[in-house]
Each structure stands twice: as C-alpha cells, then as structure tokens.
C-alpha cells in the first residue's frame, strides 16, 4: 500500500477520537484540536528548522560555516534565538497606535496559519477540506497585506510606513500573476478542491493498477510541472510567490540598506519574533500551495503522502534560500514593472497555452499534446517573453551604453 503512512496517521486520529465517542461536544473539540494543533505545532517547528537551514545555507554560499555553537551543527540555535527574543524588552513607540501595534503580529499570524490549513498535506490529512480550498487560500493569503500595512502604519515611523506601503503595493501587484498562473491549473483540474487538484496530477489509469512500474511512474509523470503550461506556470507562480512572501530578491519592504527593516523597524522582542514567524509561515503556505498546484502535492513514487509533501516543501524552500543567496534586490520601479509588464501578460498567455494543450489532448491524445505543447506553446511563451523584455527595456539600455568615465 502506497499511502501507508497517511492512513496510519488518520487511523491514529480516529483512535484518539474514539475515546470521546460518548460526549459529542467534547468529541468535536478533540476533532478540531486534532485538525489544528499538530498543524500549528509542526509548522512552528518547521519555521524554527528553516531559520537554521537558511542561516546555514546562506553561510555556506558565502563561504562561512554558519551557526555551529548551540547543539550539534548549531541545530538548537533557533531555540536560543527564541529564548533571546522572549527575554528582550518589548518596546512600543511613544506615539504609536498602541492597539494596532499590538494587533499587527497577530493579524499576520492568523491568516498564515489558516492558509496552511488549506493545504492537503497527505491522503486524508487536510485540516480545512473546503470545496473551494484554493480560492480560499488565495483570499486568506491576501490578508497578509492588511497586517503588514497595520504594522507599518501603527509604528508611526516614516521608514515603517514606507515599508508598509511598499509591501502593500508589491503584494497586490504580484497577487495577480500568482492567481493567474494558478488559474491554468484550476482550469485543467476542473476543480477548486485541493484534493482533486492533487488527484488530477496522477495518471489515473496507472495508479492502483497493481503493476509496480505503472504505480511508480503514474504518481510522478502526471505532475503539472512536466506539462508545458504547468512548467511555465510554475515559474511564474514561483516568481510571484517570492514577491508575495517578501523574499529576496523581492524583499523591498524589508530592504535594510534603504529603509532599516521596513514595517518591522519598530518591533522588538516577542512581537518581532511573531511577525517573523508569520512571514515565514506564510512563505511556507505559498510554497505549499505551489507544491499542491504544480509539483503533484503528496504524490510520489513510493510512500506517497506526507513525507513527499514535506520533502517537496523543503526543497522548494531550499531553492528560495538559494535564490536569496544569489540575486541582488530589485529597485521599486523594476519590481512593479516586472509584475505588470512582464509576468501579468505572460501568465495570461499561459492560460491560453493551457487551453490549447487541453484541446490537443482531447483531440489527439496526450503524446501529441505534449509534443506540440512543448514545441509550439513553449516556444510561443519564450518568444513572448523575449518580445516583452525588449519592449520593457528603457531606451538607454537598448542603445549602446556610453560610459563617461571609462575610455
């Protein structure tokens, strides 16, 4: 059985619930706790682990060893950081909006956690199995913007306000290519239900056939990244997700060389830790929805289920860290121009490409559709991308550059 791990987990949940079978109210409470508590705890743990991973990875990229003092390989560093954050003084600016300054971290944390709840972590491991989970996810993740604005505005600091406004502008702009690239997937899966989207990414005639080889490949080859429109969509999605999660190279709201720490400037101590955690968990949530939409969710060759989801999530995050270690920060006008003049038209074009692929698949079968999709569809996207980048170049770049000081 392939989904052994997930089924055991679900069974464990049922077993715990069975203790409270005679008390319906208590059973409901226990059910809710079982749905939410492990999720919250595991994602907080994942956050702690990721801070370690990020520091370590960035350090290695920059030829440093990274944290290695606390615990083995510095693995206990996040705990030390947490204790430090807890013990720090909580500073609230004198003229700040006290209530909103207090509410902003909570407001960032809540949507991040709800967003995580919409992810199908495994077969049957789905905290909020709504019928329109994916659109709900995007709706909830747009609440981040409000929290960031709240943090920026309530601090009554010009850098905070600038960071907050930058964050809002950026998140609103990149939400459009994000959702548009997801639309292609939703269109092809024919459902907004996250479980059905995952199920659509396996070759249904092969999975469950009993043949080991078919079982093995049936759960891999159906992933949306392996389809032309899915591959392009994944790239657009990933770029937009980086911006949406305020990650480098789109970390303008927190650009420390320009505006100190943006909306985080006036936060200290535990509120800062919570804001930071909220940001990471919303990044997790977006990476998770990326895994669900494009990387086959919890599908995997053997032991399909939770382990595969976790593996994919962390590898996606590792790529984010890798990008952070490589690319420099964008300028504000470049950032907005990139969203509106480049990603947005390409994401729309990608929806047409998906439709074209679907039509071919219905007419002549998968093989022809794949071939034509990769050859023509992808070529069309590439051409459009080149044309757009030519169009968007400023005239000074297009003409030969003249350097005044260099002979």
């Amino acid at each position: 059985m392939n989904n052994y791990f997930d089924l055991k987990l679900v069974e464990l949940g049922r077993w715990i619930e069975a203790f409270f079978a005679h008390y319906p109210t208590l059973k409901l409470v226990v059910h809710l706790l079982l749905c939410t508590l492990p999720l919250a705890l595991s994602f907080m743990g994942a956050f702690a682990f990721t801070t370690w991973l990020e520091r370590k990875g960035l350090a290695r990229i920059q030829n440093r060893p990274g944290p290695n003092r606390v615990g083995l390989f510095g693995l206990l560093q996040p705990i030390a950081d947490g204790i430090k954050m807890l013990l720090k003084e909580d500073i609230v600016p004198e003229r700040s909006d006290k209530l909103f300054h207090f509410l902003a971290p909570i407001m960032l944390m809540i949507p991040a956690m709800i967003g995580v709840g919409f992810l199908p972590l495994g077969d049957g491991l789905h905290a909020l199995p709504l019928d329109s989970a994916i659109i709900f996810f995007f709706a909830i993740s747009s609440l981040n913007t409000i929290a960031v604005f709240m943090a920026g505005w309530s601090s009554r600091n010009k850098y905070s306000l600038l960071g907050g406004m930058r964050a809002v502008a950026q998140m609103i702009s990149y939400e459009i290519p994000l959702v548009l690239s997801a639309v292609a997937v939703i269109m092809m899966a024919g459902s907004l239900n996250a479980q059905e989207v995952v199920a659509s990414q396996q070759i249904s005639s092969w999975v469950g056939s009993g043949n080991i080889l078919q079982e093995f490949f049936g759960r891999i080859l159906g992933w949306n990244v392996f389809k032309p429109w899915g591959f392009a969509g994944f790239i657009f999605f990933f770029i937009a997700a980086l911006a949406e999660a305020n990650r480098s190279p789109f970390d303008l709201p927190e650009a420390d060389s320009e505006i100190i720490a943006g909306h985080l400037t006036e936060y200290s101590g535990f509120k800062y830790a919570i804001l930071f955690m909220g940001e990471y968990i919303s990044a997790f949530a977006i990476a998770g929805i990326g895994v669900t939409l494009f990387l086959g969710g919890w599908n995997g060759p053997v032991f399909a289920g939770l382990p595969w989801f976790v593996l994919k999530l962390f590898s996606l995050f590792a790529v984010m860290i890798w990008i952070r270690g490589t690319l420099p920060r964008l300028r504000v006008d470049q950032l907005m121009g990139y969203a509106w003049k480049f990603l947005f038209p390409l994401a729309i074009l990608n929806i047409f490409l998906a439709g074209f692929y679907h039509f071919l698949e219905r007419q002549w079968g998968t093989a022809i559709a794949m071939l034509a999709g990769w050859l023509f569809g992808f070529g069309a996207l590439q051409l459009a991308a080149i044309a757009l980048s030519r169009l968007n170049q400023s005239p000074t770049i297009r003409s030969k550059r003249v350097y005044q000081l260099v002979e």
């Binding site: 990875g57 290695r60 990229i61 030829n63 890798w322 990008i323 490589t326 590439q382």
Partner: protein
C-alpha cells in the same frame, strides 16, 4: 537566441558551486573558528600601544622619558602622562602615571611615529574584553610596560630595525661623547676662552631621529 534568465542561472551555478565546495575544499571555507583556534597574527598587525622597557626591571629599564610628545600628538587624547619627581620635587625623566584609555584609542599609531625614544609601540594582542566597563580598558603604566623580548616576539622585523637604529644612535652618541671628551681634553690642553662651544652637543639630538627615518 538568448535564453531568458540565463544570467540568473549562471549566478545560481556560482553560488551552488560555493555551497558544495565549501564542504570539501579548504579554500572555500577559510573561517578560523576563534576560541578553539586562533588566527595567526600578521607581524605587521597593530592594535593598541604599549610601552617598552629594556632589561629585567620594568621601571628601571623604561625607555619613556615623559616628554609628553605622544600625549600631545594623540588625536582622541587617550594618553595621560604625569611626570615623576624625586623627593626634592625635582623632575626626573620618567612618568609617574602613564595611562592609555584603549576604549578611546583609535589605533592611529601617531604616538609611535612621534616618540623620539622608541618607547611606545603598537601591540597586536586582541583579546581585551573585560568585565569592568569603566576602568577595565583604561591601562596604566604597569599594564602597559612590556619587555623588548615581547616586542621581538610580536613584530620581529620591526623590533630588529628599532634595535639597530637604537644601537646606531647609541654608537653615534658614544662617538660624539668620545669626540667631545677628546675635544675637552684638547681644549683643556689649549685652554681656550670659556663659554664659546656650549650648545651644539645638546641641539644635535632631535634631528637625528628624522634622518634615521
């Protein structure tokens, strides 16, 4: 046809190479993990000044003559000197108090440049952290005085040069002294009118250092 994002991929390749090679190539991970192993200090490194003495006894062999040139040259004014006096209240050529506030010192080395007696030099010790934030970094005479051997240990080349210079100076002074004595003897023989050649020997001393540089 240029591929979109080729530059990004190239950059990612560079960082990936950095990442993986840092695990098995020494030159990719040059970090010295400090408390366990210490970086080898370059002999030209400098941190804060210290005072030199010759011989075994720090106070007797002290080269400093409390001329306060360094005190006046110090831009952040972190040197504080009080001249010593003997029991008759007459000034003697050594400092009673010589303090350097290393929390103020900016390691400019101007005191070293200005010192005519090669008495003050830059130290390369760097583990100076201290629990007392008021007096801990204010070094007094006893803490500042270090033997010439120590100087040879930390800055061998420079110390040798200094020693040579001092030896040359001493030899020159000796030669002059001899010449003066000879002249004195000759003068005693010839009995010239007194009070004619009095100043030259004392005036000659300061420019000599400039020449040696």
């Amino acid at each position: 046809m240029s591929l979109i994002g080729k530059g990004i991929l190239k950059g990612m390749g560079v960082t990936a190479k950095n990442f993986f090679q840092s695990y098995y190539r020494k030159e990719r991970l040059p970090t010295v993990e400090y408390p366990e192993e210490k970086a080898t200090i370059n002999q030209f490194s400098r941190n804060f000044p210290f005072l030199l003495y010759d011989g075994d006894d720090p106070v007797d062999g002290m080269r400093c003559t409390a001329c306060t040139l360094c005190e006046r040259a110090c831009p952040p004014q972190c040197i504080y000197i009080i001249k010593d006096k003997d029991e008759n209240g007459k000034a003697i050529l050594s400092p009673r108090i010589f303090d350097i506030d290393t929390s103020v010192c900016m390691s400019c080395q101007l005191c070293v440049e200005v010192c005519p007696y090669e008495a003050i030099r830059m130290d390369s010790a760097f583990e100076l952290s201290n629990e007392n934030r008021f007096e801990g970094l204010l070094l007094n005479r006893e803490e500042l005085l270090k033997p010439n051997a120590y100087y040879h240990e930390i800055h061998p080349l420079e110390a040798r040069e200094t020693d040579d210079r001092m030896a040359a100076k001493a030899a020159l002074a000796e030669a002059k002294k001899k010449a003066r004595q000879k002249r004195a003897r000759l003068a005693a023989k010839n009995k010239p009118p007194p009070g004619l050649k009095k100043t030259p020997p004392t005036r000659k001393k300061p420019p000599q250092r400039e020449k040696s540089e």
